[in-house]
Every structure is written in C-alpha cells, then in structure tokens.
C-alpha cells in the first residue's frame, strides 16, 4: 500500500463523522509532515537502495554489485577495518566516559562544574579538528612523534585516538544521565546490609546503569562507523567504509558501487538503531517516580583519586584542542613559530575562503530556525492530536529513520533522488535550500525525541479543555504549549546549529561552487596540504559554536526571567 493511501485511510478511519475544522487543520499538518519526511528521507533512501541493484545503464541486476563488492579484497577489507576501529573506539570511550561520569556524579571532588564543561569541549568541534591536532602532535613533523615508538599516526592509531576524543562527550552525557537516575535507597539498603563498596558497585550501580551503558555503546559505535572526517584526514592508506563511499563517488564516479557501500554501511547503523530502541523500551519502568535522588558524601580518599582520574582526561582535551588553536596561529610550522593571523586569511587559500564560513553560518542559522519549528510542530501533531492513529504512527516512524542513516549515505541518496532529471524538485540541487533540508533530515530524530519528551511532560488534557471552551487547538498551541516548551525548543535549535556548522558527511556531496561550507573547506584545505588554515577554520568553527552556546545560555536565562515568571512562582 502506498503511503498516500495509508494516510487517507488513517484520516477516514479515525471517525465516521465529517471532519470538523480543527481536524482538517490537524490532518493537513500531519500530511505535510509526512510529505516532508517522505521527500527528505524515505524517497532518497529508496533511490539509493534501487541504485545498488542496478548497473551503470540503469538495468536491474539483482545482487551482482554486492557480489562484485564482496569479491574485491581491498573493498571488503574496509568492512573489517571499520568494525575493528568502531569496536576498539567504543571500548576505550565507554571505559573513560564511565570513569569520568562516575567521578562527576558519585564523588564530591572539587571543580566539578569546570571539569564537566571542559570534558564537553570536543562536542563543539568537527571530528576533523582532533585529527588535524594529532597530525601536529604525532605527524611526520610532530613534536611528540617519538611517543609512538616508530608507529605512524596515519592509520588506525590516529583514527581511534581522534574519534575517541570526539565521541567522548556523547557517551559522557548519556552515562551522567544514567548515573543520576539511580535510586539512593538502594545504596542505603546496601549500606544497612554492610555490603562492601566493590560489591555495591557490581550489584547496584552496574545493573542500574546497564541500559545507559548499552545505549552509549551503540551511540559511539554508530558515530565511529559512520564518521568520515577523521579517517579522511588521518587514515592514510587505511580504508574504512565511510572513506570508500567518498572514493567511489568523488574519485571514481562509480555511483553504483557507492550505493552498494552505502547499503552495507546502513546495516550496522540499523542494527545499532534497533538495539537502542529495544533498550529504550526496556528502560521505561526502571526508575519510579518515588525514587530518592542519590547524593554523594564527601570522602577524601575517594574524591582525590577521582580527581586524579579526571585530570589526564582534561589534560588530553586541553592538549588536543590547544594544539589546534596554537597551530592555527603559528606562521609556518615548524620553521617559523612566531604567531600571526596568516592562516586565517582564508581568501588566499583554496576551499572557499571566508565565504565558506559565512555560508556555513547562514546554513546553520536556517537549519536551526526552520528545523526547530518544523520538527517541534510535527512532534506536537504526533503527540497531541486525537485519532488519526495510523497517520501519526507513520510520521513518528519516518521521524525515527534518520537516526539509522549515516550522513554520507544520506548525501549520496540526495544526489540520486534530487539530481534525477525527471524529479520536479531538481532545481533545488546545488542550492542552499537542499543543504538546509538535508541537514534538518540528518539530525531530525534526536530533535524529534527531545520535543516529544517535552510535550509528554505537559498535561495531556489541555487540548480537551480548550475544546470544551470552544478554543481552536492552534490557539492553545501558540498560547500555552509553545511557551511551555520554549526551553526544549531552544535546546533543539542549538543542537541543530552546532551540528549544521560541523557536519561534513552529508553535505560533502551536495555543496556547489556558490554554497561551499566551512567544514567541507577544512577537508579540501587539508587535502591540498594547507593544514594550518584547515586547523584555523576548525578552530573558528569551534569558537563559533561555543559562542553560540554561550549566547543560547544567556538568552534562555533572559527568556526564563522575562516570560517564564510562572516557573519560579
């Protein structure tokens, strides 16, 4: 059944009576939401799937491409490489993030706020930046090259270190949440039964954060296996799936093989996605509303050792980010170490110049603005509309897909779909518009879930009350629901902005001469050997994101002061 007829059934099946005005508006809204996700996500994915079973002439050839892929040893090696890199990085990141999260939530070590802030640092930079830093530190001319005992940073070592660095905050956030959600009474019971600290950790702490751990592992695994920036910069001859797609498409113009690799890359990501969904379902009943929050008690020995554990992590964060900042100001590494702004004269380099930077800001701004309102409105319709079950379920399902689709796959899918000569949306190709749509689609799921969570916290009877008072639903949406969800909306906006600024994977296939982006220009400058300007651009993006985050923090504080007086009441 086509999605259109599903939609019609859904509207028709909700009730046998005539649709009244509110329901028409709601049904129209839901249809628009479904149509957007259909065009921005589902149809492009279909295009890439069908491309993977066609030959160059466009004839259906079944699994021939996949067989050709599997029998090419160099290509198949990338599968093993990707799995190896992803597994190793996941183990490293989860171990470190668990230690750090434990220290932050379960000890009374000093400077917690600052430590936490510093640890989140890498999230504001593109994944290219730590890779560039590592080149400066351990590359052929790196000043810590000797630390590697003759091994080369270009290859698995470099990829694992950069991605561990970059994924760390993601895992840290999830684990902090998991550790904060534990019931203090379990610990009191353990204490009353005179259980040793270690036994308490293994019998109480670990089981209660089990799902958080699984969830964080899958998130990191997916991030690593789909990341393209780090292996591109520091991978050297070590091929992984993500770089293969790029090489097949950009290097050899072999779109079919690009599609095949994309489909293969979809598999682990989808597996991780399914597992994560399963975990989320399991987790629901874990913490009851009557749980008592855990409060750490000062314990000098524990606190000092926790601090000692955190310091090396912070040292690495400061070291890696600091190196990038320092390198971006050095005139000519390593021969002329005097500081200058030479590397920031992007207009003198290939890669798009300052225009690229402003394009990125423009793109991120539109993505944040349109994306947050679009996604929030859709989430509202999914969560709060009565009836139209099938249609709402369909929109929700569509909204969950992007999480399982790696950026590169999405970008390639957009080429196949939007660049097809018979597509009426063809004119979007090469514009700022397609970059914005693609980025919104790419990061849709997390924003959708954030919005749904915020909406679930609102009394579910508001719509019923306004109907009884004969107030149309959209008036209540604007006067009550939206103001109540403003913090969540800002959260979604900032998330979209930061990701839009830093993303490389999806947009690398979609930019045109007029719409080069800063993150892509880092890649291109690095390719051309202009590594210092690449670092400079990376630093600029990181500082921009940190600045915007600061602005967001000030703005939301101001907004809460001015418009949310009721919160403090």
């Amino acid at each position: 059944m086509s999605s259109r007829s599903i939609a019609m059934n859904a509207v028709g099946g909700a009730s046998r009576r005539f649709l009244h005005k509110d329901q028409w508006v709601q049904a129209a809204g839901l249809l628009i939401a479904a149509a957007f996700l259909l065009v921005a996500m589902v149809l492009p994915l279909y295009a890439i799937l069908s491309k993977s079973v066609q030959n160059k002439a466009g004839d259906f050839v079944g699994l021939e491409n996949f067989i050709a892929y599997a029998s090419s040893p160099s290509l198949f090696d990338s599968v093993l490489n990707s799995l190896f890199i992803a597994s190793l990085t996941t183990v490293i990141v989860i171990t470190l993030a668990l230690l750090a999260a434990y220290a932050l939530t379960r000890s009374c070590m000093p400077f917690k706020g600052v430590i936490r802030l510093l640890m989140m640092g890498p999230i504001f930079a593109p994944s290219l930046l730590p890779a560039i830093s590592l080149v400066y530190l351990f590359g052929n001319q790196g000043f810590l090259k000797s630390w590697l005992f003759g091994e080369s940073i270009y290859g698995p070592i470099g990829i694992v270190i950069s991605l561990s660095f970059w994924c760390f905050p993601h895992a840290l956030m999830i684990l902090i949440t998991a550790l904060s959600n534990t019931d203090a009474r379990l610990y009191e019971s353990a204490k009353a039964l005179r259980t040793s600290g270690w036994r308490t950790f293994f019998t109480v702490t670990l089981p209660s954060i089990k799902y958080g751990l699984i969830s964080a592992s899958f998130v990191v695994f997916t991030l690593v296996i789909t990341d393209f920036g780090a292996p591109k910069v520091i991978g050297g001859q070590y091929d992984v799936l993500a770089t293969d797609i790029y090489k097949q498409v950009i290097g050899q113009q072999n779109f079919q093989m690009g599609a095949v690799v994309s489909v293969i890359l979809l598999l682990p990501a989808m597996l991780a996605f399914a597992a994560d969904r399963w975990v989320q379902k399991k987790q629901v009943a874990l913490v009851t509303s009557r749980a008592q929050p855990y409060r750490a008690e000062p314990n000098r020995r524990k606190d000092v050792s926790m601090l000692a554990l955190c310091l090396p992590i912070i040292a690495i964060v400061i070291g890696v980010l600091g190196t990038a900042v320092y390198a971006s100001f050095v005139t000519f590494w390593p021969y002329n170490l005097s500081l200058s702004l030479n590397n920031y004269q992007f207009d003198l380099m290939d890669g798009g110049g300052w225009d690229a930077y402003f394009n990125s800001i423009e793109m991120a701004f539109y993505t944040a603005l349109f994306g947050s309102f679009l996604i929030f409105t859709n989430a509202y319709l999914v969560e709060k509309v009565q009836g139209m079950r099938a249609l709402r379920g369909l929109v929700h399902l569509f909204a969950m897909i992007p999480l399982a689709v790696p950026g590169l796959v999405l970008g390639l899918a957009y080429i196949f779909f939007f660049n097809a000569p018979n597509n009426p949306l063809n004119s979007l190709y090469g514009t700022m518009g397609i970059l914005v749509i693609c980025t919104i689609a790419h990061y849709y799921t997390v924003c959708h879930l954030t919005s749904i969570t915020a909406l679930k916290q609102i009394d579910k009877e508001f719509e019923a009350v306004s109907a009884s008072l004969k107030v149309p639903f959209y008036q209540t949406f604007l006067r009550v629901t939206l103001p109540l969800c403003l913090p969540a909306l800002l959260e979604v906006g900032i998330y979209l902005f930061v990701n839009a600024v830093n993303t490389v994977s999806a947009v690398v296939f979609l930019y045109s001469a007029n719409t080069t982006l800063a993150s892509v220009s880092i890649l291109n400058m690095d390719d051309a050997g202009d590594i210092a300007p690449a670092a400079a651009m990376g630093v600029l993006l990181m500082l921009t994101c940190m600045g915007v985050k600061l602005l967001h923090w000030l703005l939301s504080r101001q907004l809460i002061n001015n418009t949310q007086a009721w919160r403090k009441a």
Binding site: A464, V465, A467, S468, L469, V471, V480, P483, L484, A569
Partner: protein, 359 residues
C-alpha cells in the same frame, strides 16, 4: 423529559469492549455520579458524552439535540480533570477568561465584561483577588476551584467532573466536596462526576450510576444503592458486606451450611439454586429478646477497636464461613463483647440480600 439521554452506547478499543450497550437518562439540574472501580468504563462514558472519545455505536441527545456525531467544541459542556489541567503560564484570571475570549457572543467577548465575569467567578469560588497569581502559587484545592471556575465561566448546560478530588489530601477533599455540591445547587447546573470513591458518591450525588466491566450495574439514589444493592457487585463495592454461599431451600428460606435463615427476597428462585446471601456488618445485632427468627450462637474470634464502633470476627455455630459484625461501643460495654466471648446474634430477615451466584 430528560436533559441528557444516552441510548445503546457501545465503545470498543480494538478487541477490548469498554462500554457495552449503555442506556441512561439524566434529568435537568441533577447531580449524577458514575461510580466504579478503575477500568469499569466510567471515564470512557464521560469522555463519550464530552465527544473526546467518539463512541463506536449508539446515540447521545442533550437538551433535545442529537450530539452523537458532534466534535467537542460544538457541544455544550464544561469539564474539570483530576489534574486540573490549568495552563501554568497563564494567570488565574487568564485561565478563567480563556474560553470567554473566544465566545461567539460579542457582548461576552468585551474586555470589561470579561473582567467583570472573572471577578464574579473568583468571588463565587472564594478566591477574590487572586486574579494575577499563577496556578503554581495556589494550593491544590485552590487550583481545583480555579479549574471549576474556568469550566463554568461560559455558562455551559452540562458540567463534567473527571475524578476532580482524587489528587487532593483527605481534609481538603471533604471540604471541597461540600463546596462543589453547594455551587452546583446554587447554579442548578446538570452535573456528572466520575469517581471511584463511594463516600464521595454517597455524599454528593442525587443519583448514582454504579458501573462494572462496561455495563451499568444499578442506577439509584445513594440510599437505594446502599440499602438495596441490585447485584452482588454493587453490594460488595459500596460499603462492607458479608457474603455466604448457600442454597435456596424453599420460598423464603435459604440454607447456609447446616443453618437455615429466613429471608424476604428469594421468592422467584427455584429450590436448590446456588445463591449468595449477603448482610452488612452493622445489620447484625446482639440478641437479647424478641422474635426468634434467625437467632444464632457465636463466639468472637477476632476483635478490632475502631473508635466509634468495634468490628468483631465471628465463628457462628452451624455456619462454617466467617462473618464480620459491627457493634456500637454501647453494645460492646453492655454485653461484654471481647475476644473469646460467647453470644447470641440476631440477623433481621428484611436485611438479608439474596443474589444468584454467577456460577
């Protein structure tokens, strides 16, 4: 002529039948309670009347108008939820005025008219001057009263209350019970309240509709429901009741184990029909003299002091099922009732209820 008339209402949620063939008439100005355990369909019925959940089959007429297929905003009702559902970002005055601003009547929409009506309502609910407060600055009881004011602001013909008192603590609940009832009587507004609290229903309602498993078990005044329950379910759900497995022995006698009890109400049942004989603990009396029907010997096995009265668990000679009886403190003192005491009981035959076993 009934104000609200419900005919053959059915509601299915997939396989599950929430309402099976409900028919009910409510008179204008009546205070009706839907009483039943959770999942009995009482809230579903309320939401069908409001149009929030469309019924699968059947019709609803309000004031002579067929509203069965109308969406909620074209029906005439105000509603109060257990959670109050006050808009937290709007002041008390804005909450109450929420529906007034959208009124189809231009006179009602006027700024002055709204201010005046809001003040009037705040006066009515005893919260005059709270106009500019936010809901979170009010106590639970006050919030519930604001929700009530918001619901009646537009002068609806029907007021629906969905467990309005369940979220409040006991003392406030008793107080607000009286206030809501008084307000309802003053305004003369037809009101339906959903509750699972029998005490609430008994004290507030003109008419109680007891529901279970999607059907109406009994409709009646509080006295009727309590004193003459129509089914074993109603008898057990409202108040406390002893149930004894027994058989009909002849037209007005039942056999409980080795004992025969006379009763008024098993005339139409055949001999040897399996029945449940029920008696309320407070209807069992200590016998001293008088008529000799249903006199039994018993010993006190357990004794529980409950303040104004005491509850005794009894072993009755010739009956192998436990019986619980309530005795006033006077009885307890006069007859020396305590654990282990022997006594004679009297079970008034007109207080015995006989229910056919569902088998």
């Amino acid at each position: 002529m009934s104000y609200l008339s419900i005919q053959n209402l059915k509601k299915h949620f997939g396989e599950f039948t929430a309402l099976q063939d409900i028919s009910l008439d409510i008179k204008e100005g009546e205070f009706v309670c839907f009483l039943g355990p959770s999942g009995c369909g009482k809230t579903t019925l309320l939401r069908a009347i409001a149009g929030l959940d469309q019924q699968s089959e059947g019709s609803i007429h309000q004031a002579g108008r067929d509203i069965s297929q109308l969406p909620p905003d074209q029906r005439d009702f105000g509603i109060v939820f257990q959670s109050y559902a006050l808009f937290p970002n709007l002041t008390v005055a804005d909450n109450i005025a929420y529906g007034l601003k959208n009124s189809s009547d231009a006179k009602v929409r006027q700024r002055d008219a709204i201010t005046q009506r809001v003040d009037e309502l705040l006066e009515l609910i005893g919260l005059a001057g709270a106009n500019h407060k936010y809901p979170s600055q009010l106590s639970g009881g006050q919030q519930q009263r604001v929700a009530l004011a918001r619901a009646i602001a537009t002068k609806p013909g029907l007021l629906l209350l969905d467990e309005p008192l369940s979220a409040l603590d006991a003392r406030v609940r008793v107080h607000l019970r009286r206030e809501i009832k008084e307000l309802q009587r003053t305004l003369g507004i037809t009101t339906i309240m959903v509750t699972h609290d029998q005490e609430e229903a008994l004290t507030m309602a003109d008419k109680i509709v007891v529901m279970n498993n999607g059907v109406i078990e009994q409709v009646g005044t509080p006295e009727e429901i309590y004193a003459a329950p129509a089914s074993a379910f109603v008898a057990s759900f409202v108040g406390t009741m002893n149930f004894l497995n027994s058989f009909v022995s002849d037209t007005n006698r039942v056999q409980v184990d080795e004992t025969y009890l006379s009763c008024d109400a098993c005339g139409d049942m055949e001999q040897d029909t399996q029945v449940s004989v029920a008696i309320r603990p407070e209807d069992i009396r200590v016998r001293f003299n008088g008529d000799a029907t249903n006199t039994l010997r018993a010993s006190v096995r357990g004794f529980e002091y409950l303040g104004a009265f005491a509850r005794a668990e009894l072993d009755v000679d010739g009956i192998h099922q436990p019986i619980v009886a309530d005795f006033s403190m006077n009885d307890v003192r006069d007859h020396n009732i305590c654990c282990g005491a022997q006594m004679h009981l009297d079970i008034p035959k007109h207080r015995l209820h006989v229910f056919r076993e569902a088998s």
